[in-house]
């Protein structure tokens, strides 16, 4: 008789949380970004409700600045699971005047996603939005709950969070309010990759090393794509890179890497001395950038 592994225990906890969502809410949705964390959440949801289909649709907030590989992966996954896909378009939010596009060299649609996300949640009357955020990613996320209450404006109030004890989750809410739920709160980046390896989950090619046209800005590599305006001094070069996190092209830092396999990636992460969000331009805007975005209703 031996105890179960940390991966088994984390998986078991996440499946428990996903089943609580199905039991406590009427219209839950999984926020799917195409990144490794949301891929793991979808895999866990598949296991939690097997042999029934995942009882939630997938929602992708599309900034229009996605890597081509992300969209291909998303469509293939949805097809394989027989899941329902809903796309919230940031371009549409811009076209209808809901948000104004940023300009300048650092223009990004990352912040604009919040409006599109909240509009989509309202339009479909979603009462729980399941995300792949993890507490180890960022200091404001370290205090996030599994079941995180949002008021009718979609805002997070970090000072008035509901306490969470044992494994009892309180998803009660008033009309118009919703919850964000984070089933993999307790996972680290390493846990995620070890789990992907253990489960043999197929991953988007962006996570493995590939040749790409890139340029360097503020000490990090970014993809040279039409949606980013280059400064006159910035030179486009070709490098062997991979994504450590996948988001919108404008804020996804690329890592110089030769990792061809999941084993290589795990080895690379074990040796790295920089956090995965160290490559995210959106977090570098200020000391409490993440908390400020989360308060407004960000992922």
């Amino acid at each position: 008789m031996s105890s179960i592994t940390h991966l088994k225990e984390l998986e078991s906890e996440s499946i428990y949380v996903l089943r609580e969502v199905a039991a406590q809410f009427e219209r839950p949705v999984i926020l799917f970004s195409g990144g490794k964390d949301s891929i793991v959440v979808v895999h866990l949801a598949y296991k939690a409700f097997y042999p029934a289909k995942i009882p939630f649709p997938l929602l992708h907030i599309d900034t229009g600045h996605n890597f081509r590989e992300t969209i291909e992966y998303r469509d293939a996954l949805v097809e394989r699971l027989g899941a329902e896909l809903i796309v919230g378009s940031v371009q549409e939010s811009i076209d209808t005047g809901r948000v104004r596009e940023e300009t300048g060299y650092y223009a990004s649609r990352n912040k604009l996603q919040t409006t599109t996300l909240l509009d989509t949640i309202e339009r479909y009357h979603f009462d729980a939005a399941i995300g792949g955020a993890r507490r180890d990613e960022e200091k404001a996320r370290a205090k996030e709950r599994f079941f995180s209450h949002r008021d009718e404006l979609g805002q997070w109030n970090p000072k008035n969070q509901r306490p969470e004890l044992w494994n009892i989750f309180n998803g009660r809410k008033a009309m118009g309010e919703h919850f964000r739920v984070f089933p993999i709160s307790n996972w680290t980046e390493m846990d995620v990759w070890q789990y992907i390896l253990q489960e043999g989950i197929e991953m988007p090619s962006l996570y493995f090393t590939h040749e790409r046209r890139v340029f360097e800005r503020d000490g990090q590599w970014l993809a040279a794509e039409p949606c980013i305006r280059l400064k006159p001094t910035e030179q486009v070069v070709t490098r062997q890179v991979r994504c450590r996190t996948i988001g919108d092209i404008t804020c996804t830092g690329l890592t110089l890497s030769t990792a061809h396999s999941l084993e290589d990636i795990i080895e690379e992460i074990a040796a790295t001395r920089v956090t995965e969000r160290g490559g995210r331009a959106d977090d570098k805007r200020s000391e409490t950038a993440m908390e400020d975005r989360k308060r407004a209703g960000y992922f």
Partner: protein, 421 residues
């Protein structure tokens, strides 16, 4: 690799943040960009030394006020184990945060300043750990460098602590003399305290038995099988036309295919035909596994029902409960107030019948004649529920023995309860 969850309680003065910073730093769990950010933030605040508390104090208000308000979760791993730290503030006005952090911990680290010995807050932290049923307590006697690494000082603190612990019925305590600032006995054994022959803190955390290994078979092992049903899986598809699976997480004991089971509260019996995790068929399941169970008979089972083994001790089913509660909300608990009493899966409306006594968490004295409970109060109360709850005593089973109180008007979680009987 196994997982160990532990909580730490204490104030900045105890060196708690320094200790956590040391564990993270020495196990290489702090990254360069995090350290740079903390260094920059410390400098801009005029701190002379790098303030490791800024690593854990992530919220704007916490950084501005220089205090930890909430429970912060921290993660690190060594080649032997993965750790989750629930880092909680130690002051009395954060008792509720300590209770929250302790509710999921296997182990609790209590810090004592070697210069000051056992204090009021030591008693408070120990009491909360004991109340929440934490299996192991580590008393880390910190700042040994400031008392010349004296064995005598350490021994006196150990003796004082044991006197206090006896009154609390705390059994499993390990004492380690450390210097968090210099790293003595934190990750590596200290050469400056040759008289201490035990393990360094990290070594102890890596080897202390957890989960199934920690269960004493002679004392009933994992206890009786308990399976609160979370959700019923019914695909209603052509491939699985008659599939009806009961989804949940094993809350105690072991269940095997072929076991005779009883479904509460109705009491109907059946036999386990399948235990599955997704497509994998298992022969048995134990805590904390999430599985799907199928039974031989078509009985009506819904969320909140509890599946137990017919040949084992049965849980209680009653409407009158006595509980230890910790109050979380600014609105006081009052006698005759109504709350939603929620268990892991089941719930019922309940009314507070009486407050039997309030516990002074500093002196441990019982205070009687109390008519309401304020935020952070801990007390024994009696509650009557509209429907019978299926439960075990908290001492027997933390999952089937715990409840939260929800204010039906605001939907807030206002209190936590541990059922006594």
């Amino acid at each position: 690799m196994q997982l160990l969850r532990f909580s730490t309680a204490g104030s900045v003065d105890d060196g708690k943040s320094t200790l956590i910073g040391r564990l993270l730093y020495d196990s290489k769990s702090i990254f360069e960009d995090q350290l740079e950010a903390v260094e920059a933030a410390s400098k801009s605040r005029g701190n002379e030394e790098v303030n490791l508390a800024l690593l854990t104090d992530g919220l704007r208000a916490e950084r501005e006020q220089g205090i930890t308000i909430d429970v912060a979760y921290r993660y690190f791993a060594t080649p032997r184990r993965k750790f989750i730290i629930a880092d909680t503030p130690g002051h009395i006005q954060y008792t509720r945060n300590m209770v929250t952090g302790a509710s999921t911990a296997d182990l609790s680290i209590i810090l004592i300043d070697a210069r000051h010995g056992v204090l009021e807050q030591t008693v408070r932290h120990s009491y909360i750990s004991s109340l929440l049923g934490i299996q192991h307590i580590v008393v880390a006697v910190n700042k040994m460098d400031l008392v010349d690494f004296s064995e005598e000082v350490f021994d006196r603190i150990v003796a004082d602590y044991r006197d206090m612990a006896q009154a609390l019925h705390i059994g499993n305590v390990t004492f380690i003399p450390i210097s968090a600032r210099d790293g003595d006995n934190v990750v590596n054994r200290s050469e400056r305290m040759p008289w201490y022959t035990g393990a360094a803190l990290l070594e102890f955390l890596e080897t202390v038995p957890v989960g199934r290994d920690a269960c004493d078979e002679t004392a009933g092992g994992l206890g009786a099988f308990r399976f609160p049903v979370q959700y019923v899986i019914r695909p209603i598809s052509s491939r699985f036309p008659d599939f009806r699976g009961y989804a949940g997480r094993v809350a105690g004991g072991v269940v095997r295919v072929g076991d005779r089971v009883r479904v509460l509260p109705d009491g109907l019996e059946s036999e386990v035909t399948h235990i599955t995790q997704a497509a994998d068929e298992l022969t048995e399941a134990f805590p904390p596994e999430s599985v799907t169970i199928r039974l031989a008979d078509d009985i009506d089972i819904s969320r909140g029902d509890v599946i137990v083994r017919a040949d084992e001790p049965q849980p209680c089913q009653q409407q009158d409960l006595t509980l230890d509660v910790c109050w979380f909300n600014e609105n006081p608990l009052q006698i005759r107030s109504r709350y939603v009493v929620r268990q892991a899966a089941g719930e019922s409306l309940g009314i507070v019948r009486s407050i039997n006594f309030r516990r002074n968490v500093n002196t441990l004295e019982k205070e009687t004649g109390v008519t309401s409970l304020n935020m952070n109060d801990i007390a024994e109360i009696s509650v009557h529920t509209a429907q019978p709850l299926v439960f075990d005593e908290y001492r027997q089973n933390k999952i089937t023995g715990s409840v939260i109180f929800i204010d039906p008007d605001t939907n807030e979680t206002v209190g936590a309860g541990m059922i006594k009987n």
